[in-house]
Amino acid sequence: MDSPLIPEGVKRCSPKVFFFWTLPWIGLLLWGGVAAVLCLWKGLNQTNMSNIFAFALWIVFDLGLIALGAGAFFTGFLTYIIGRKELKNIINAAVIIGFICYSGAVAMLGIDIGQPIRGWFIFWHANIHSMLVEVSFCITCYLGVLAVEFIPIILENRKIQEVKELRLFGHNLHEIMAVFAATGTFLSFFHQGSLGGMFGVMYARPFAARGGFYIWPWTFFLFILSAIAVGPCFTILCTRLTEAISRKKLVPDNAIQLLAKISAWLLSAYMVLKILDTLVWMYGSVPREGLTFMDFFRQGPYGVWMLVVEIIICGIIPAIILMIPNARKQQGWLITASLLACTGIVLNRFMFIIVTLAIPVMPFGRFWSYLPTWQEWGLSLAIIGYGILLFSLAYRYLPVFPKESELNPALETRAT
């Protein structure tokens, strides 16, 4: 039925199978849609956020998505600026994953603010001192860049290629992609950093506050480094997941291995700096404010175990696995390390957001708990549904993986 739209030389599942595959994700989208309408119509009282938990599940999802989506700009940087040609086989997937992550995050932010209609005030009445302003500017611009990077991939659809003007337009966009890759890299560096800066500058919140260089707290640099270290891991995971579901090899090993190797070095560097930062904070800034490290964990379910899990289990261990060439060449170890690294970065963002807010600063303050409502889960999971749906559509109708037909000459396997 839709075969004229499917790229040449590759095989896709029947429209019926594809339809059933999309149903759960459409279900998640509908759930999120209902939640979004309720929040816009009735207000944020539909969530369990409060004056204590001013940021909650959505912001954790946002920051997690943006960190994991960093694979797009970093792979773009390596492909177009550094000139690693082997990554051309994975850049399309990285760009689409980045687009999904960023568009999802921006959509969630639109619901998360109390007065969505005033969202443009960020640009109109911008407070240049606010890290969140820089985040908003860069994310919005970068989403535009990602859209531009996505367009040539869409234009490669078989039917669209038949229109000469569009084909030429797509080709020309390809030619100047280095410009967008450079712009994306610049924008991404700043907003990944500013997201970290957002928490580091909260000098009245000792759990998050950090010293730094000039106006940039150390979290600024740590967030950039952690995002570019883990972003490629997420790209690897998504690619491997697509390969597992479609039961095909889609990306040559050299591209995956290069990303894993770069990730290993960056993750190792990040872990060294993160440990240094944690020690300086623990023995420097925290005691200066009359607190001990353990004071942060006097109440509530959060404890030192989170830091241990973040740094050792989800930081040092994946860094070691990825560092060893023989380990990263084995599918199982590669997936384990990538999963751990991605979990670590989400845990890091969770701690900076939720744990920071949960810990009372006033000595007589008390610990409050927070559990998200179904509306909050709905909107968050809808982004995952949206991501899988968009990626599935892209995989089905666009030549996302340039080497697919070369790597699968038989073309007899069933695929999604």
Binding site: G43, L44, N45, M49, S50, N51, I52, F53, A54, F55, D112, I113, G114, Q115, R118, G119, F121, I122, W124, H125, A126, N127, H129, S130, M131, L132, V133, S136, M198, V201, M202, Y203, A204, R205, P206, P287, R288, E289, G290, L291, T292, D295, T356, L357, V361, M362, P363, F364, G365, W368
Partner: protein
């Protein structure tokens, strides 16, 4: 010091004597009534209640008969500078839409409700929880008389924006208008006080210009028993507290063992 000035050089502040405070909560009620603070039919969810002035109860943690209780009335601290080379309170520097700022003429931290986009970054940054988000539309049930108490001088807030104590800024405007009508340029001490100051039956709250040495508030703020909440994190509040009790003063900040210094010499 009483030089001719057009509204500049003031630093309005407050001193709350915790040894006088009985914890009656009149300040909270007066504040809510004065500032058109909306209520909910069910106010049991304290994480979402709006209380510009909030009362915290503390105890010395000892068993009867040595138990002592004190109360911390907590308005917005009206912080003035970050102490790190910048000049912004923690909430002001983070606000994305410049919806909050420190008035350089009064030191009051304002909030522009119609500009606030409700991102709540300021709430995350404030360690005092002095900022409140409007989780619901304003609610003033008609037919129960509540609407008659609405003050025309204070704009009610819409859903989805953050609000906070403004040191009853409208009272300052009213006092200035009165002075202008009487051809005066300066306000006398006591002409502009907040609703909580006026309502406190124990007269525990003193309000005035911290920059004016003749104002009682600036003298009290220099007392050896005066302290501020969380002074060590450098928020520089303009709300001071007084207490002769060591354990109360100690409760206002975080101290490592041996760091807290008792007041040895009683003066004034």
């Amino acid at each position: 010091m009483m030089e001719e000035q057009h509204d500049h050089g003031h630093r309005f502040g407050m001193v709350i004597d915790l040894d006088k405070c009985t914890g009656c909560g009149t300040c909270m009620v007066a504040c809510a009534a004065e500032n058109n603070v909306s209520v909910r039919p069910d106010e049991s969810d304290k994480q979402r209640s709006i209380t510009w002035m909030q009362l915290f109860k503390i105890t010395n943690g000892k068993e009867f008969p040595d138990t002592e209780v004190s109360y911390f009335p907590r308005p917005c601290m009206q912080c003035e500078e970050d102490g790190h080379g910048g000049h912004h309170p923690t909430c002001v520097s983070v606000c994305v839409a410049t919806a909050t700022r420190v008035d350089p003429n009064t030191g009051i931290v304002s909030q522009i409700y119609t500009r606030c986009i409700g991102c709540r970054y300021c709430q995350a940054a404030c360690p005092y929880h002095a900022r409140y988000f409007n989780w619901w539309d304003g609610y003033f049930p008609k037919g129960k008389g509540l609407e008659k108490y609405l003050s025309p001088e204070v704009s009610p807030r819409m859903r989805g924006v953050v609000e906070k104590c403004t040191f009853c800024h409208h009272r300052y405007m009213r006092a200035k208008t009165q002075a202008y009508a009487e051809d005066r340029r300066e306000l006398e001490e006591g002409e502009y006080v907040t609703a909580c100051t006026e309502a406190c039956p124990a007269q525990a709250i003193t309000f005035g210009d911290l920059n004016n040495p003749e104002h009682k508030v600036s003298q009290l703020a220099k007392s050896p028993y005066a302290f501020r909440l969380l002074e060590r994190i450098n928020t520089k509040p303009k709300v001071y507290y007084l207490s002769t009790r060591d354990w109360v003063r100690k409760m206002a900040d975080n101290y490592l063992p041996g760091e807290f210094k008792r007041v040895k010499k009683v003066t004034g």
